[in-house]
């Protein structure tokens, strides 16, 4: 475990030393932004809209005390979404989609000698292949989390209105109550940390794949598992530190 962590730190260091030209890395980063960000919009939208809807319906189901106003449903959906569900669940979904894609892609490049081909050319393969993926993740995760926040709240609104669990007016009143802007900042900080963890861990697992197709599959699975565990640990640590 300690040895692996040491190798991980050396891997990050090798990526940052002897970087390739900025123009090359920029172009690669933009390409990765499309792969990691734009191509994930659909799944993030679906997941977040339904999470918002389910949260709204379940809170309404549990809210049986007539003394508590119905606007509390909107308030709770907003708080849960912004503080936890949007950044964490989105990042877990992206760990599955993006993390496995990064690990599988790099693993395949490794076993088909494409990484060696880069190194023989004198190109820093870690910098060329991994740095743009991490940068793109750090740029795109917060944007996807903002999208997830909006769609989750809209999902709650639609679910509440359509099922009659809460009226539109009460829901809107709830989501406008006691709004703390820092919560958004906190969520975005979390998304940046999660982006780094998912992309760096997945890249590390993929980059050092050794063997054949079976090992590439194993690397993808391990990358997703480790990323999710890292997200949950970091989630707790950030909550304890920043709230």
């Amino acid at each position: 475990m300690v040895k692996s962590f040491g190798r991980f730190l050396l891997f990050i260091q090798s990526m940052l030393t002897r970087k390739e030209r900025f123009a090359v890395l920029w172009k690669r980063t933009i390409d990765e932004c499309v792969t990691i960000g734009v191509n994930s919009i659909f799944i993030v939208s679906i997941v977040s809209a339904f999470i918002g809807a389910v949260t709204c319906v379940q809170i309404a189901y549990n809210l049986v005390n007539p003394l508590i106003p119905k606007s509390t449903i909107g308030f709770m959906v907003r708080e849960m979404t912004i503080l936890e569900l949007a950044p964490t669940i989105t990042s877990i979904v992206l760990a599955g989609k993006v993390g496995s894609s990064i690990a599988g892609g790099l693993g395949t490049m490794r076993i088909t000698e494409q990484v060696s081909a880069l190194e023989v050319m004198g190109i820093n393969s870690a910098s060329y292949l991994v740095l743009p993926r991490i940068t793109a993740s750090i740029l795109m995760f917060p944007l996807l989390v903002i999208l997830a926040m909006a769609l989750s709240i809209i999902g709650g609104y639609l679910a509440g209105s359509l099922t009659g669990a809460v009226s539109a007016q009460e829901y809107i009143e709830g989501i406008r109550t006691d709004f703390v802007p820092y919560n958004i900042v906190f969520a975005l900080i979390k998304s940046v940390v999660f982006a780094f963890l998912v992309s760096a861990i997945s890249s590390f697992k993929g980059f050092f794949t050794d063997g054949g197709a079976l090992e590439v599959g194993n690397a993808s699975t391990t990358a997703v598992n480790n990323s999710i565990i890292a997200i949950l640990v970091a989630d707790f640590a950030l909550a304890a530190l920043l709230l």
Partner: protein, 258 residues
């Protein structure tokens, strides 16, 4: 010229290279010959810098490569072209983009038009001028090897390394690939090192052959000398091929007085 001096390499206590000393000459096809597991590919990886030898030194035209400054190693690496066993083409790029890639990365001063001309020249040189728009998944194994050669020579490499260029190819395509490598070596006067266990390649293009056995260099010479070499391990290796045995028998019979 590439000089290898006393290169040793072990993996988990198993010594794969036991002090190899040899020279690869400029303008010649230098063959690293040997059976599976004799350390040919490990030696090749040590030479190109994909692996660090435990002991020994490797010199490219007088400049030490092993344990030298990163910048000097990078400079040498940028003169290296390599054809991998599985071709190692970037599967997200077209054939032309694969050939253009080292030019983009290593010679930023080249204009787009110059790069395009160079790519077209290299593809034409390997006989693939009409395959530039194809993806690697759309071309045959032999064509992939040709693209690999085109990519290796695109930035005007000084040293060309080929790791089993004939693996997975039919005999006719193998001969064509061998001939292409030989032509390029002579045409550009580069130092070519080929890892192989293919006896056809040995008799076709073996200007200088180094025979490895269990991590040791047992013999070196050329294609005219190899059939008469008096090293038992080499003789066993050569004559394990039925074709070579038959050719030798015919040759002997033709020299026997009636």
């Amino acid at each position: 010229m590439i000089e290898v001096h006393n290169v040793q390499k072990s993996f988990d206590g198993n010594q794969v290279l036991k002090g190899i000393t040899c020279t690869f000459e400029t303008g010649k096809c230098n063959l690293l010959l040997g059976g599976s597991g004799t350390g040919k590919s490990v030696l090749l990886q040590c030479i190109v810098g994909l692996m660090q030898p435990d002991l020994g030194s490797i010199t490219f035209d007088g400049t030490v490569f092993t344990n030298n400054k990163v910048q000097i190693r990078q400079e040498i690496r940028r003169k290296i072209g390599m054809l991998f066993q599985g071709s190692a083409l970037f599967d997200s790029m077209t054939v032309a983009q694969n050939v253009e890639f080292p030019l983009q990365m290593l010679t930023p001063e080249m204009s787009r038009e110059e790069r395009r001309d160079r790519v077209q020249f290299c593809l034409k040189r390997v006989g693939l001028e009409n395959a530039g728009d194809k993806m690697p998944s759309e071309i045959s194994g032999g064509m992939k090897k040709r693209v690999g050669i085109a990519r290796a020579i695109a930035p005007n490499c000084t040293y060309l390394f080929c790791d089993e260029p004939n693996s997975g190819l039919d005999p006719l395509t193998s001969i064509k690939i061998d001939e292409l490598i030989q032509e390029i070596t002579y045409e550009y006067d580069i130092t070519t090192v080929i890892v192989t266990h293919d006896m056809n390649s040995v008799v076709e293009i073996g200007d200088h052959i180094i025979f490895l056995y269990k991590g040791l260099k047992l013999w070196d010479g050329n294609k005219d000398e190899i059939l008469n070499a008096q090293v038992p391990e080499l003789k066993e290796f050569i004559f394990s091929s039925s074709l070579v045995r038959a050719a030798k028998r015919i040759d002997d019979e033709s020299h026997t007085p009636a």
